[in-house]
Symmetry: C2
Subunit: 151 residues, 2 copies
DNA sequence: TTACATGCAAACGGTTTGCAGGGGA
DNA sequence: TCCCCTGCAAACCGTTTGCATGTAA
């Protein structure tokens, strides 16, 4: 488990090694990505960064996100709800839960996942590099709301 | 395994039961959906339908797709490559393979999937209704191209 | 006959791009 | 100093919407 600052330093070094400059805006974006557990959209990252750098433009956020995506340092989620969401905390593909009602996104654990990948890879002509698994459903909070309505 | 015509009739009846009219354009869209194994985009469905009805507008395709989506009769895929893709042949969630290179989309089999769903549902506060599993990698055709380049 | 569907065109909204000016190394 | 980065605004493009006309039932 990486701390926020460790992950930020990790990203800073990777950017430097690509001859990219570390600007205050970029540092704020990296920090937001490393600290966010809610898989934010560009708009949400932008709002956060504006808190520290009010003149930041959303184009800068898009450009940095695009840069990191090209380096394989973040996962992009497209749920067909307009905007994309990003996980820059842990860029390795891992299972997610998405609430159909409030659209919150959470990490979930599926221990059997690795085994399935191995089995499938052996039985297929496809060269599989990653599994993206999304479980859709209703989160505990929205279940509680639904219960209240029923009562 | 449903035949194309059976699936078209299935969709026609479901539309009728919702007081929707069966126009020639809609029938052509339904047929394209039922016959397509390549998970087409709206643009691709539009091009196909235009073959039979040259005056068809893309707005009509969007409206019919949206109608069917609301009825749960097709799966929508967002791969972050601009446009959405649709599976109207089999609307139940099932695993897909996506080629990183040519972006082709194929159905794949993961027999253990049902078991995992059960296990996970038992160990979680989340009410899970569906798993969307996408395996990313390189399809046999693109592997062959890569081999040739190496040689 | 009467809603509903079509097709055109405009609007919409997330994302990308071009470019002049600014700032990291 | 040199290039890369920023921020603004315009362009882009998939998708949605409004409305007059057409048509399935």
């Amino acid at each position: 488990m990486m701390t926020i600052e460790t992950r930020v330093q990790d990203l800073v070094e990777k950017l430097r090694s690509q001859d990219c400059r570390i600007t205050p805006q970029r540092l704020a974006i990296l920090h937001t990505l490393a600290a966010s557990h809610n898989h934010p959209s560009v708009e949400q990252i932008f709002e956060k960064v504006k808190g520290d750098f009010p003149t930041t433009s959303i184009a800068t956020v898009y450009k940095t996100i695009s840069l990191l995506k090209g380096m394989g340092e973040l996962i992009e989620f497209s749920f067909g709800d307009g905007s994309n969401h990003y996980d820059g905390r842990d860029p390795s593909p891992h299972p997610h839960f998405i609430c159909q009602i409030c659209r919150c996104i959470e990490d979930i654990e599926i221990p059997e996942l690795a085994r399935i990948g191995e089995q499938l890879a052996g039985h297929s002509d496809y060269l599989i590099t990653a599994f993206h698994i999304n479980a859709w459903g209703i989160c505990p909070a929205c279940q509680a709301v639904a219960e209240k309505k029923k009562a």
